[in-house]
Symmetry: C3
Subunit: 352 residues, 3 copies
């Protein structure tokens, strides 16, 4: 619970309204009632601001004609994230180490842990302080898990992987399985390229549910500080993803991809092997990244510049019209005697 005076300081906003009003919950614009702080994300919400029952509303600029308590922030979504955190943060409380945990010899456990039942940890591993391991977590030999990291149920981490501090790994994710490297032999049978690298996940990463992050072939697979992965994401062997890059669900990175810092990669995208993506690049949903992407570039489709791709995509939907216009031109030209029938293609209905 905070007064608006205090909340405005926390979220770095300017208060227009009653500094002594009190909020105890963040809520969506639709659901917010008395006692809630909410957020007007778009113009559409701003126009309806007087219909909101929320005690305070975070906005990007003062709204004339409103008698509501407004928190005016230069980045209102960020201010709202901070408001949610201020009102709903759950303080860590150690639950200790369950008696129903298997820990291998040589493994060192930190302090103030929360290790649930049915956790299995291999030998010679190092588990930091205040780590939370949910039921069914399996951690391989010689892994290192940093302080304050939370690993949810049924996550599997293979041997020799390194997970930093303040990392969250959601349920069902697999870290350190073999990279996909095979080569056919003389008889056509696939021979494995044994994978000798590891996985290193740096501090402050968030990894969604049921992701797969393969160990490296020789070079480690690396998620740099603050990488955020959504669910069902494939990270191939020896791929490296730069600091603070954000990746949406069902995207796949082939082996040896190098992704820069602060990139935004939307859902169901994919990369060819050994592609480099520059810092700050923005990859649209379902993009096939088939060649190098420059820093700051915006890419869509089959690796096209996004603006160009959009123009092409509009014309794709108008292809029947374009084809019809070509036919009319041909008819006019032929009727004027300027092009013989022979000049038409032999079988226009089916080329390619």
């Amino acid at each position: 619970m905070h007064t608006l005076r205090r909340l405005a300081q926390i979220v770095r906003a300017e208060l227009v309204g009653n500094p002594d009003a009190v909020v105890n919950r963040a809520n969506s614009f639709y659901q917010a009632v008395e006692g809630d702080v909410t957020f007007a994300e778009t113009e559409w919400y701003l126009e309806r601001i007087n219909s909101s029952a929320a005690t305070a509303i975070i906005v990007s600029s003062a709204v004339s004609g409103s008698d509501r308590n407004l928190l005016v922030a230069s980045n209102p979504k960020l201010a709202f994230a901070r408001a949610i955190e201020a009102l709903h943060e759950v303080h860590y409380q150690s639950i200790g180490v369950s008696g129903d945990v298997v820990v291998g010899p040589g493994t060192v456990l930190g302090k103030e842990l929360s290790i649930h039942p049915r956790v299995t940890i291999g030998r010679d591993a190092v588990i930091g302080n205040r780590v939370t391991l949910h039921p069914g977590v399996v951690i391989g030999d010689r892994c290192r898990i940093g302080d304050d990291t939370v690993i949810y149920a049924n996550v599997s981490i293979y041997a020799d992987c390194d997970v930093g501090s303040n990392v969250v790994v959601h349920a069902g994710t697999v870290i350190g399985a073999d990279g996909f490297g095979f080569v056919p032999d003389e008889a056509g049978h696939q021979v494995r390229l044994r994978q000798l690298g590891r996985v290193r996940i740096e501090d402050d990463c968030d990894i969604g549910a049921n992701c797969t992050i393969d160990r490296g072939g020789f070079e480690d697979t690396i998620l740099r500080r603050g990488v955020k992965l959504d669910n069902l994401i494939q990270v191939g062997h020896s791929t490296e993803i730069g600091d603070d890059t954000v990746v949406a669900a069902l995207t796949g990175f082939s082996g040896g991809t190098h992704v820069g810092q602060r990139c935004i990669i939307a859902g169901q995208a994919g990369t060819n092997q050994h592609i480099t993506i520059g810092d700050g690049a923005v990859i649209s949903g379902r993009t096939a990244v088939t060649k190098k992407v420059g820093a700051g570039a915006a890419i869509a489709g089959m690796g096209q510049n996004r603006g160009s791709w959009r123009r092409s995509q509009v014309l794709f939907s108008r292809l029947p019209e374009l084809a019809e216009r070509i036919s009319r031109l041909e008819k006019a030209i032929r009727e004027a005697g300027l092009m013989s029938e022979k000049a038409k293609l032999s079988n226009p209905k089916r080329k390619s």
Copy 2:
């Protein structure tokens, strides 16, 4: 085992043939032998109906010249589903609660349960009657699981989620992980928007293996009664999917998607955030749903009307021919002196 007289009643078909013949198994057209009932799905099978060794064949209309036992049904696939069920239904038998189960304080267990070993249930949860929990299932604090629900191995359900009655959740699925909400701060670091909503799965839903259904930001993520999800499907935070909608594998729903009732969504489709899809819409495989879809609409490609998309797609494969026809027109027009060379684009080989 049923006589055809009885089976015809069960599957709501008209029998043409011997009412006293007996079947004890359903089988595919290819594999069916004496004692089996099978199903002629297409014209191709109907033409081969006399070559089948099955005792009875479910068809859409009587086949002239056939001496087989036919079950004529207006919806033969539905009739076949009922025949399979009638012949192969397995009646529920409680195996009780394994001694190797961890149950938190305050949790209430129903009657006639089948709880396998290695199951972990948090505190203050409610488990209904005749629930089956396979090994490795993890159920969080304060969850509710309805009667007759089956949860397969290694499923992870986070705290505060609600699963209805007669639901099936296949192995490895994750329910209730945090939605993917981040916003960059002043330094470019991603700040989490803490997710305060839950997941609610209504009665009669079937959820495939290794799916991920995220908890809501504020509004709950909801699967309405009878939703059927295939495998490896991502359901984003605060998404709602309407009654009896069917979704094929590897599809991803972004946060805040609203899907209507009785929609059919094929594989590897995806939606932009906050999209609405109307009742009864049909979304083709790999469609990117980029804008609102009306009730009953059929959509493909980048959210195009399906018929229009198909015409465009045919012309896409004929683009080399269209380009060649444009070149021939240009040549004819220039040779007739009707268009100068200058009127050609400066660099036709590489625009875009």
Copy 3:
């Protein structure tokens, strides 16, 4: 550790250099140092061969002007795979059967096993010799697991499935969940087609992490000998994949797909139901396989021939230019009085 004399024999290469030099590790070109063998994969590496600190380098042909130890192999990638194996093979050592394992009645366990804690095996199953089961593995009733097979953490295998010898199944994969078969009844509710088939995985298969391989409807789902699946792959009910076929991540096979031998299927591809793909076909990343693919065919896009698709794709990116050229032609023709304004389409901006 091997002399180059010996290593050349093992990898079937011709040595150009010192036969008594010794290597003890395989490494990437970038990381290789004294004592390592590495691999010059492309021309780019061959040009830099003298800058490598590796003791030996596997190449496709002798490099003039190099004083390095070269292992010249007709298939250098295959030779490198064998070199890695020769230097890094880990010999199997049984760890026995953990006391913390649940095994159902009637199940037969082989010899020299490595069964980790928290494994659950149903009744009447058969586990071969030298099988490794990692923590959290769940194996259903009446399953058979062949000799020397390794199943990683938290894999779930449903009842009645058959896994061959020398198979690897990576963590989180689900084998034998119900195929996705539903049909709407008179009220629009989806009725399940109960799935009566099984899954059969033949010898020498490798299956990645978090895959889903559904059991058959009637015919079994089958992976033939030596199939290699990457991560997050969906294999639908009654699909069959032929010997030595390789499939990259996030690909989905609909029910009843028949894939031939030695096919190469890249990432995020998908197939329509009941499609046949011939032996040796090459399916590009993200291909939608919508119709039968002949043996040896190369396919991309919406099931097009790959060469044709590439030409179309280049022209897709040039659609704005093509549209502009059509407009210029129309202008020239109309200015010459050869086509009336009426011949233009009523609304060229928005047809489709």
